[in-house]
């Protein structure tokens, strides 16, 4: 590798530090805002450090959720967890069958089907909004978890199919042929050979789907009007609407922090998987 000149070295270091600062500062600013007393919001040391740390904003934020948003944070976490888990299970079940079929059989139209899957991954959800509302209304599913689980699950199928198909197609066909000659049927081959081997691909799928579903907003906004069923993004969006001027900024920031906690913990634990998944998604898929 080429040795850098002193000038280039200094420039590259300064550049990276500035870049990291721009990425991290907004979040740090909000973080410290949550620990400020109301009279300190606009006159703090170096504009973000609080002079006197206070945690009084957090109980207020929890109270605000119960009285203003009509749903507790525990309930939001639970709601988001239920629709995310339901959506992931639905998507992975359907997609693992579908991906297996594409790789295992040579049926007519599998190219067409796979192209359709690739296309549907990109579809803007605005075009689904009105009809989905009417379908869910017809099935009496509005204001239930299923109003989100079915659309999330369906829209999760394409990415999961792409990831699993790519993985399945790398499994040597000799394994499959040997099992077939030994008399295994296709379901046994799927369950005992393909699925166990695909654990890393399944993990990638879960990460992609988790991020999409945990953070989804528009469907929840249109299909869930019952406060007690609100997912995190849906409930948090209401902090931004309505009485926005009435909420003290410290409480506003504390609410944001409380809402980030679950995904922050998940990210910290599975960080390497997240980044691996992102890189993999870039190469294929």
């Amino acid at each position: 590798m080429q040795k850098l000149t002193i000038g280039q070295k200094i420039f590259s270091r300064v550049y990276i530090i500035i870049l990291l600062a721009i990425i991290i500062l907004p979040l740090i600013w909000v973080f410290f805002l949550a620990f400020k007393k109301p009279n300190e919001i606009f006159q703090s040391f170096l504009f973000f450090f609080p002079k006197h740390f206070t945690i009084e904003n957090f109980p207020k934020a929890i109270e605000l959720a119960k009285t203003g948003l009509l749903v507790s944070y525990q309930r939001m976490y639970l709601n988001s967890a239920i629709v995310t888990a339901g959506g992931i299970i639905l998507a992975i079940l359907a997609a693992s069958f579908g991906a297996f079929s594409i790789v295992y059989y040579k049926f007519k139209g599998r190219e067409v089907y796979y192209t359709f899957v690739l296309l549907s991954y990109m579809i803007p959800i605005q075009i689904l909004l009105i009809p989905l509302y009417l379908i869910l209304y017809r099935f009496k599913l509005l204001n239930t978890y299923f109003a989100l689980i079915f659309p999330y699950g369906t829209l999760g199928i394409p990415i999961a199919t792409m990831i699993l198909r790519n993985f399945f197609s790398q499994i040597p066909t000799e394994i499959r042929d040997a099992a077939f000659i030994d008399g295994a049927n296709s379901f046994q081959i799927f369950k005992n050979i393909y699925l166990p081997l695909a654990k890393p691909a399944l993990a990638t799928c879960i990460i992609f789907l988790f991020l999409d579903m945990w953070n989804e907003f528009l469907f929840a906004f249109i299909f869930i009007r019952k406060e007690s069923l609100a997912t995190l993004p849906l409930a948090m969006s209401k902090i931004g609407m309505g009485g926005r001027t009435l909420i003290p900024w410290g409480v506003y920031a504390a609410s944001i922090l409380i809402a980030i906690v679950p995904i922050f913990i998940v990210f910290m634990i599975f960080q390497r998987w997240f980044i691996k998944g992102a890189m993999m998604g870039s190469v294929k898929g």
């Binding site: 590798m1 080429q2 070295k9 590259s12 990276i16 721009i22 990425i23 991290i24 907004p26 979040l27 600013w29 805002l33 606009f42 504009f47 359907a94 069958f97 579908g98 297996f100 079929s101 295992y104 059989y105 040579k106 049926f107 599998r110 359709f116 690739l118 296309l119 990109m122 803007p124 959800i125 605005q126 075009i127 689904l128 909004l129 009105i130 009809p131 989905l132 379908i135 079915f150 369906t154 199919t161 066909t173 042929d177 907003f217 249109i222 993004p233 948090m236 931004g240 900024w249 920031a253 944001i256 980030i260 995904i263 990210f267 960080q271 997240f274 980044i275 992102a278 890189m279 870039s282």
Partner: protein, 303 residues
């Protein structure tokens, strides 16, 4: 394709189809039928309440109105600005940053990676809340400006009609740049280092090596990210909705917010047919680029 015997072939059509049946059923009910429904609805006028959805056929008039609707053209222009910022600026800055990390020989430790990546995993609703606070008149950005003696430039950033769409677009850049950067960084790890070293031994300059050797080798990653950002720009909704909801006075209106606001009656009576027409146009544009991306993939897989 493998040369081995495939135990199943065309004769087992029904069995193979039964495996994709769960996907097909879900796609049918929750994707294909709704798309068809929206396309049909775009030829009708419906207020969202009356029982007879398809009683008022208006032909192409929703589409014709689209071309005469000045706000639609504002939203079109704004969408293009977002796409431009994402495709040109974000790809450019991310590539530049990845090159600096690569040639500067930075070892990205886990903490740095985590920082770079973290904004990309947070809900855009929350990102929007954060930046609405930062960009307010008494917000963090203006506090920073007055700290460094530039107080006279302090404004309510999201109320500035000429700036707001650019600001919103750059918040999107802020959120996604780490992700794109890591994609480019991963691509840089895979380039042919011997070729690069040979070029430097032959006396190539850094710039020369970058443009003649590095960039051509990661062109797929660049092209891919550009197409993805293009589609992402057209599809982005949550962040713009929470930050400005298209305002002030449509200054940050994009396709997606305009569709929502028209269909769900934020600007006068609900107009589901017209909203559907906007959604159809949006979907057509996105699908065209999705097809380009798929064709491109088939090409590199075929090589």
């Amino acid at each position: 394709m493998s040369k081995n015997i495939n135990p199943y072939n065309l004769k087992h059509g029904i069995e193979s189809i039964s495996w994709i049946l769960p996907s097909i059923i879900l796609f049918g009910i929750f994707l294909i039928y709704p798309i068809g429904f929206s396309v049909v609805l775009s030829f009708f006028k419906w207020n969202g309440y009356s029982k007879d959805i398809f009683s008022n056929f208006v032909g192409f008039s929703n589409y014709i109105y689209l071309f005469k609707d000045p706000i639609f053209w504002v939203s079109f222009k704004n969408t293009l600005i977002v796409v431009f910022v994402l495709v040109v600026f974000m790809t450019g800055i991310a590539l530049f940053s990845a090159l600096i990390i690569f040639f500067g020989n930075f070892k990205l430790n886990n903490l740095t990676r985590a920082i770079i990546f973290f904004p990309g995993i947070i809900s855009q609703i929350i990102i929007g809340l954060v930046f609405r606070r930062i960009l307010a008149l008494d917000g963090g950005l203006n506090q920073l400006l007055s700290l460094i003696g530039l107080k006279k430039f302090a404004i309510a950033w999201l109320n500035a009609p000429n700036l707001v769409i650019w600001i919103v677009a750059f918040v999107l850049v802020w959120q996604w740049i780490g992700y794109i950067m890591i994609i480019f960084y991963a691509a840089l790890q895979n380039i042919d280092h011997e070729l690069l070293d040979a070029a430097f031994i032959d006396g190539a300059s850094l710039q020369g090596a970058i443009f003649k050797i590095v960039v051509p080798q990661i062109r797929y990653a660049i092209f891919l990210s550009a197409v993805l950002n293009f589609i992402g720009g057209f599809r982005s909704f949550n962040l713009i909705w929470i930050m400005t909801n298209g305002g002030p006075a449509h200054a940050s209106e994009v396709f997606t917010t305009y569709m929502y606001n028209v269909a769900f009656g934020q600007y006068g009576p609900s107009n589901m047919g017209y909203g559907s027409a906007i959604a159809v146009i949006l979907a057509i544009i996105v699908v065209i680029f999705a097809v380009i991306r798929i064709k491109f993939f088939k090409e590199i897989e075929g090589v």
